[in-house]
Protein backbone atom coordinates (compact mmCIF):
# COMPACT_ATOMS: atom_id res chain seq x y z
CA UNK A 1 0.00 0.00 0.00
CA UNK A 2 1.53 3.28 -1.08
CA UNK A 3 1.45 6.16 1.40
CA UNK A 4 -1.04 8.61 -0.06
CA UNK A 5 -0.94 11.30 2.62
CA UNK A 6 -4.61 12.11 2.02
CA UNK A 7 -6.39 13.48 5.09
CA UNK A 8 -9.21 11.29 6.36
CA UNK A 9 -11.62 11.29 9.27
CA UNK A 10 -10.49 10.37 12.78
CA UNK A 11 -9.12 8.05 14.15
CA UNK A 12 -6.77 7.76 11.18
CA UNK A 13 -3.95 10.18 10.42
CA UNK A 14 -4.15 9.64 6.68
CA UNK A 15 -5.45 7.29 4.00
CA UNK A 16 -2.31 5.15 4.14
CA UNK A 17 -2.79 4.47 7.84
CA UNK A 18 -6.46 3.67 7.28
CA UNK A 19 -5.55 1.27 4.47
CA UNK A 20 -2.99 -0.47 6.70
CA UNK A 21 -5.55 -0.85 9.50
CA UNK A 22 -8.07 -2.26 7.02
CA UNK A 23 -5.52 -4.75 5.73
CA UNK A 24 -4.47 -5.88 9.21
CA UNK A 25 -8.09 -6.26 10.33
CA UNK A 26 -9.02 -8.32 7.29
CA UNK A 27 -5.95 -10.55 7.53
CA UNK A 28 -6.60 -11.10 11.26
CA UNK A 29 -10.12 -12.21 10.30
CA UNK A 30 -8.70 -14.49 7.61
CA UNK A 31 -6.36 -16.02 10.24
CA UNK A 32 -9.44 -17.01 12.27
CA UNK A 33 -10.94 -18.47 9.12
CA UNK A 34 -7.78 -20.51 8.50
CA UNK A 35 -8.23 -22.00 11.97
CA UNK A 36 -11.96 -22.58 11.44
CA UNK A 37 -11.37 -24.57 8.25
CA UNK A 38 -8.10 -25.90 9.68
CA UNK A 39 -9.94 -27.91 12.33
CA UNK A 40 -11.82 -29.74 9.59
CA UNK A 41 -8.64 -30.25 7.55
CA UNK A 42 -6.93 -31.78 10.60
CA UNK A 43 -9.93 -34.07 11.24
CA UNK A 44 -9.72 -35.06 7.57
CA UNK A 45 -6.00 -35.86 7.92
CA UNK A 46 -6.52 -37.98 11.04
CA UNK A 47 -9.31 -40.08 9.51
CA UNK A 48 -7.63 -40.39 6.15
CA UNK A 49 -4.49 -41.80 7.78
CA UNK A 50 -6.66 -44.34 9.61
CA UNK A 51 -8.91 -45.28 6.67
CA UNK A 52 -7.00 -44.62 3.40
CA UNK A 53 -8.93 -47.19 1.34
CA UNK A 54 -12.35 -45.93 2.48
CA UNK A 55 -11.37 -42.36 1.57
CA UNK A 56 -10.17 -43.48 -1.88
CA UNK A 57 -13.48 -45.34 -2.39
CA UNK A 58 -15.44 -42.29 -1.26
CA UNK A 59 -13.46 -39.98 -3.54
CA UNK A 60 -14.20 -42.20 -6.55
CA UNK A 61 -17.92 -41.71 -5.91
CA UNK A 62 -17.55 -37.94 -6.36
CA UNK A 63 -17.92 -36.37 -9.80
CA UNK A 64 -14.36 -35.59 -10.91
CA UNK A 65 -15.49 -33.34 -13.75
CA UNK A 66 -17.86 -31.23 -11.64
CA UNK A 67 -15.10 -30.78 -9.08
CA UNK A 68 -12.59 -29.78 -11.76
CA UNK A 69 -14.97 -27.44 -13.58
CA UNK A 70 -15.99 -25.84 -10.29
CA UNK A 71 -12.32 -25.20 -9.47
CA UNK A 72 -11.86 -23.47 -12.84
CA UNK A 73 -15.07 -21.47 -12.25
CA UNK A 74 -13.86 -20.25 -8.85
CA UNK A 75 -10.42 -19.34 -10.19
CA UNK A 76 -12.10 -17.36 -12.99
CA UNK A 77 -14.29 -15.57 -10.43
CA UNK A 78 -11.13 -14.64 -8.51
CA UNK A 79 -9.65 -13.23 -11.72
CA UNK A 80 -12.78 -11.11 -12.23
CA UNK A 81 -12.50 -9.87 -8.63
CA UNK A 82 -8.81 -9.03 -9.09
CA UNK A 83 -9.65 -7.02 -12.24
CA UNK A 84 -12.46 -5.26 -10.31
CA UNK A 85 -9.85 -4.18 -7.73
CA UNK A 86 -7.67 -2.70 -10.48
CA UNK A 87 -10.71 -1.08 -12.13
CA UNK A 88 -11.84 0.73 -8.96
CA UNK A 89 -8.37 2.25 -8.50
CA UNK A 90 -8.32 3.47 -12.11
CA UNK A 91 -11.89 4.76 -11.98
CA UNK A 92 -12.99 2.37 -14.74
CA UNK A 93 -16.58 2.26 -13.49
CA UNK A 94 -18.19 0.20 -16.25
CA UNK A 95 -15.39 -2.34 -16.03
CA UNK A 96 -15.81 -2.42 -12.24
CA UNK A 97 -19.55 -3.13 -12.47
CA UNK A 98 -18.98 -5.73 -15.18
CA UNK A 99 -16.31 -7.55 -13.19
CA UNK A 100 -18.38 -7.54 -10.01
CA UNK A 101 -21.31 -8.97 -11.98
CA UNK A 102 -19.04 -11.60 -13.52
CA UNK A 103 -17.63 -12.53 -10.10
CA UNK A 104 -21.16 -12.93 -8.74
CA UNK A 105 -22.37 -14.98 -11.70
CA UNK A 106 -19.38 -17.35 -11.56
CA UNK A 107 -19.84 -17.74 -7.79
CA UNK A 108 -23.52 -18.51 -8.33
CA UNK A 109 -22.62 -21.03 -11.06
CA UNK A 110 -20.29 -22.74 -8.58
CA UNK A 111 -23.15 -23.08 -6.08
CA UNK A 112 -25.55 -24.38 -8.74
CA UNK A 113 -23.06 -27.10 -9.72
CA UNK A 114 -22.44 -27.88 -6.05
CA UNK A 115 -26.19 -28.14 -5.47
CA UNK A 116 -26.49 -30.53 -8.42
CA UNK A 117 -23.70 -32.62 -6.92
CA UNK A 118 -25.45 -32.71 -3.53
CA UNK A 119 -28.62 -33.87 -5.32
CA UNK A 120 -26.64 -36.64 -7.01
CA UNK A 121 -25.33 -37.80 -3.63
CA UNK A 122 -28.86 -37.79 -2.21
CA UNK A 123 -30.11 -39.96 -5.08
CA UNK A 124 -27.16 -42.35 -4.62
CA UNK A 125 -27.88 -42.68 -0.86
CA UNK A 126 -24.54 -41.11 0.03
CA UNK A 127 -25.91 -38.71 2.65
CA UNK A 128 -24.44 -39.84 6.03
CA UNK A 129 -27.04 -41.25 8.39
CA UNK A 130 -29.42 -44.23 8.65
CA UNK A 131 -30.06 -44.25 4.88
CA UNK A 132 -26.40 -44.24 3.87
CA UNK A 133 -26.16 -47.13 1.42
CA UNK A 134 -23.51 -46.76 -1.30
CA UNK A 135 -23.67 -49.10 -4.28
CA UNK A 136 -21.35 -52.06 -3.72
CA UNK A 137 -22.14 -52.37 -0.06
CA UNK A 138 -21.99 -50.00 2.88
CA UNK A 139 -18.61 -49.38 4.43
CA UNK A 140 -18.75 -47.62 7.80
CA UNK A 141 -15.47 -45.67 7.40
CA UNK A 142 -16.64 -44.44 3.97
CA UNK A 143 -19.42 -42.65 5.81
CA UNK A 144 -16.72 -40.68 7.61
CA UNK A 145 -15.45 -39.46 4.24
CA UNK A 146 -18.91 -38.19 3.34
CA UNK A 147 -19.42 -36.59 6.76
CA UNK A 148 -16.25 -34.60 6.12
CA UNK A 149 -17.18 -34.00 2.46
CA UNK A 150 -20.50 -32.40 3.42
CA UNK A 151 -19.08 -30.53 6.44
CA UNK A 152 -16.16 -29.05 4.49
CA UNK A 153 -17.97 -28.25 1.25
CA UNK A 154 -21.04 -27.08 3.22
CA UNK A 155 -19.01 -24.66 5.34
CA UNK A 156 -17.29 -23.47 2.17
CA UNK A 157 -20.67 -22.98 0.46
CA UNK A 158 -21.91 -20.87 3.42
CA UNK A 159 -18.87 -18.64 2.93
CA UNK A 160 -19.67 -18.44 -0.78
CA UNK A 161 -23.23 -17.31 -0.04
CA UNK A 162 -21.92 -14.58 2.30
CA UNK A 163 -19.43 -13.52 -0.37
CA UNK A 164 -22.17 -13.35 -3.02
CA UNK A 165 -24.16 -11.06 -0.70
CA UNK A 166 -21.17 -8.75 -0.25
CA UNK A 167 -20.44 -8.67 -3.99
CA UNK A 168 -24.09 -7.96 -4.81
CA UNK A 169 -23.95 -5.00 -2.38
CA UNK A 170 -20.74 -3.74 -4.03
CA UNK A 171 -22.39 -4.09 -7.45
CA UNK A 172 -25.30 -1.90 -6.32
CA UNK A 173 -22.84 0.68 -4.94
CA UNK A 174 -20.85 0.63 -8.17
CA UNK A 175 -24.00 1.17 -10.26
CA UNK A 176 -24.84 4.16 -8.05
CA UNK A 177 -21.38 5.55 -8.66
CA UNK A 178 -20.35 5.28 -5.02
CA UNK A 179 -17.18 3.26 -5.59
CA UNK A 180 -14.10 5.01 -6.88
CA UNK A 181 -10.38 5.53 -6.47
CA UNK A 182 -10.88 7.76 -3.41
CA UNK A 183 -12.10 4.79 -1.37
CA UNK A 184 -11.04 1.50 -2.93
CA UNK A 185 -11.00 -0.28 0.45
CA UNK A 186 -14.40 -1.96 0.19
CA UNK A 187 -13.63 -3.67 -3.11
CA UNK A 188 -10.14 -4.59 -1.92
CA UNK A 189 -11.33 -6.11 1.38
CA UNK A 190 -14.21 -7.98 -0.27
CA UNK A 191 -11.62 -9.26 -2.75
CA UNK A 192 -9.42 -10.56 0.06
CA UNK A 193 -12.37 -12.49 1.48
CA UNK A 194 -13.39 -13.85 -1.93
CA UNK A 195 -9.86 -14.94 -2.82
CA UNK A 196 -9.47 -16.65 0.56
CA UNK A 197 -12.67 -18.64 0.00
CA UNK A 198 -11.18 -19.58 -3.38
CA UNK A 199 -7.99 -20.75 -1.61
CA UNK A 200 -10.01 -23.04 0.68
CA UNK A 201 -11.52 -24.72 -2.38
CA UNK A 202 -8.07 -25.01 -3.98
CA UNK A 203 -7.24 -27.48 -1.17
CA UNK A 204 -10.67 -29.12 -0.93
CA UNK A 205 -10.47 -30.09 -4.60
CA UNK A 206 -7.41 -32.39 -4.42
CA UNK A 207 -8.26 -33.73 -0.96
CA UNK A 208 -11.81 -34.71 -1.89
CA UNK A 209 -11.80 -35.32 -5.65
CA UNK A 210 -8.30 -36.51 -6.55
CA UNK A 211 -7.69 -39.42 -4.14
CA UNK A 212 -6.68 -42.51 -6.11
Amino acid sequence: MKAEGTRVESPYVDAAQRALAQQLGMWAFIATEVLLFGGLFIAYAVYRVHYPDAFADGSRRLDFWIGTINTAVLLASSLAMAIADIAVRRDRRRLLSGCLAMTWLLGALFLVLKGYEYHQKFVEHLIPGPHFAPAGGPAAPEQLFFVLYFAMTGLHAVHMVIGLGVIAWLFVLSRRGRLGPASPGRVELAGLYWHFVDCVWVFLYPLLYLIR
Partner: protein, 92 residues
Protein backbone atom coordinates in the same frame (compact mmCIF):
# COMPACT_ATOMS: atom_id res chain seq x y z
CA UNK B 1 3.22 -2.32 -28.80
CA UNK B 2 1.99 0.27 -26.27
CA UNK B 3 4.62 2.14 -24.30
CA UNK B 4 3.01 1.30 -20.94
CA UNK B 5 2.14 -2.32 -20.10
CA UNK B 6 -1.51 -3.14 -19.44
CA UNK B 7 -2.35 -3.04 -15.70
CA UNK B 8 -4.31 -6.25 -16.21
CA UNK B 9 -1.41 -8.23 -17.65
CA UNK B 10 -0.04 -9.55 -14.31
CA UNK B 11 -3.39 -10.91 -13.10
CA UNK B 12 -4.11 -12.46 -16.51
CA UNK B 13 -0.72 -14.19 -16.44
CA UNK B 14 -1.40 -15.41 -12.91
CA UNK B 15 -4.76 -16.77 -14.04
CA UNK B 16 -3.04 -18.64 -16.87
CA UNK B 17 -0.64 -20.11 -14.28
CA UNK B 18 -3.54 -21.12 -12.03
CA UNK B 19 -5.32 -22.88 -14.87
CA UNK B 20 -2.11 -24.65 -15.89
CA UNK B 21 -1.62 -25.86 -12.29
CA UNK B 22 -5.24 -27.05 -12.20
CA UNK B 23 -4.87 -29.00 -15.45
CA UNK B 24 -1.56 -30.56 -14.38
CA UNK B 25 -3.06 -31.50 -11.01
CA UNK B 26 -6.11 -33.11 -12.64
CA UNK B 27 -3.98 -34.93 -15.24
CA UNK B 28 -1.53 -36.20 -12.60
CA UNK B 29 -4.41 -37.76 -10.64
CA UNK B 30 -4.93 -40.22 -13.53
CA UNK B 31 -1.34 -41.46 -13.40
CA UNK B 32 -0.47 -41.22 -9.73
CA UNK B 33 -2.10 -42.88 -6.75
CA UNK B 34 -1.48 -43.28 -3.04
CA UNK B 35 1.04 -41.06 -1.29
CA UNK B 36 2.74 -39.84 -4.47
CA UNK B 37 -0.61 -38.74 -5.92
CA UNK B 38 -1.47 -36.86 -2.73
CA UNK B 39 1.94 -35.17 -2.56
CA UNK B 40 1.75 -34.02 -6.20
CA UNK B 41 -1.84 -32.75 -5.93
CA UNK B 42 -1.03 -30.86 -2.71
CA UNK B 43 2.07 -29.41 -4.37
CA UNK B 44 -0.06 -27.93 -7.16
CA UNK B 45 -2.61 -26.69 -4.58
CA UNK B 46 0.22 -24.94 -2.72
CA UNK B 47 1.43 -23.34 -5.97
CA UNK B 48 -2.09 -22.03 -6.58
CA UNK B 49 -2.32 -20.74 -3.00
CA UNK B 50 1.01 -18.93 -3.35
CA UNK B 51 -0.05 -17.30 -6.64
CA UNK B 52 -3.40 -16.16 -5.22
CA UNK B 53 -1.84 -14.84 -2.01
CA UNK B 54 1.01 -13.03 -3.78
CA UNK B 55 -0.86 -11.51 -6.72
CA UNK B 56 -4.66 -11.57 -6.30
CA UNK B 57 -4.43 -10.80 -2.56
CA UNK B 58 -1.43 -8.54 -3.24
CA UNK B 59 0.72 -9.77 -0.37
CA UNK B 60 3.86 -9.16 -2.43
CA UNK B 61 3.26 -5.41 -2.29
CA UNK B 62 2.14 -5.26 1.35
CA UNK B 63 4.13 -4.16 4.41
CA UNK B 64 5.93 -6.81 6.47
CA UNK B 65 3.38 -6.44 9.27
CA UNK B 66 0.52 -7.38 6.93
CA UNK B 67 2.48 -10.41 5.69
CA UNK B 68 3.06 -11.43 9.31
CA UNK B 69 -0.69 -11.28 9.97
CA UNK B 70 -1.30 -13.30 6.82
CA UNK B 71 1.01 -16.07 8.02
CA UNK B 72 -0.29 -16.06 11.62
CA UNK B 73 -3.26 -18.34 10.98
CA UNK B 74 -1.08 -20.92 9.25
CA UNK B 75 1.44 -20.78 12.10
CA UNK B 76 -1.26 -21.50 14.70
CA UNK B 77 -2.71 -24.21 12.47
CA UNK B 78 0.75 -25.79 12.22
CA UNK B 79 0.98 -25.86 16.03
CA UNK B 80 -2.37 -27.68 16.20
CA UNK B 81 -1.31 -30.08 13.45
CA UNK B 82 2.05 -30.92 15.03
CA UNK B 83 0.57 -31.51 18.50
CA UNK B 84 -2.26 -33.69 17.16
CA UNK B 85 0.17 -35.68 15.00
CA UNK B 86 2.45 -36.13 18.03
CA UNK B 87 -0.52 -37.36 20.04
CA UNK B 88 -1.45 -40.03 17.49
CA UNK B 89 2.18 -41.00 16.86
CA UNK B 90 2.88 -41.64 20.56
CA UNK B 91 -0.29 -43.50 21.53
CA UNK B 92 0.32 -47.03 22.75
Amino acid sequence: MPSTPSPFRPVLLVFAGLMAALMLSAAASYGLSGTSGTVVSLFFATVKLALIFAFFMKLREQAGLVRLFAMAGFFWLAIAGVLIAADYATRG
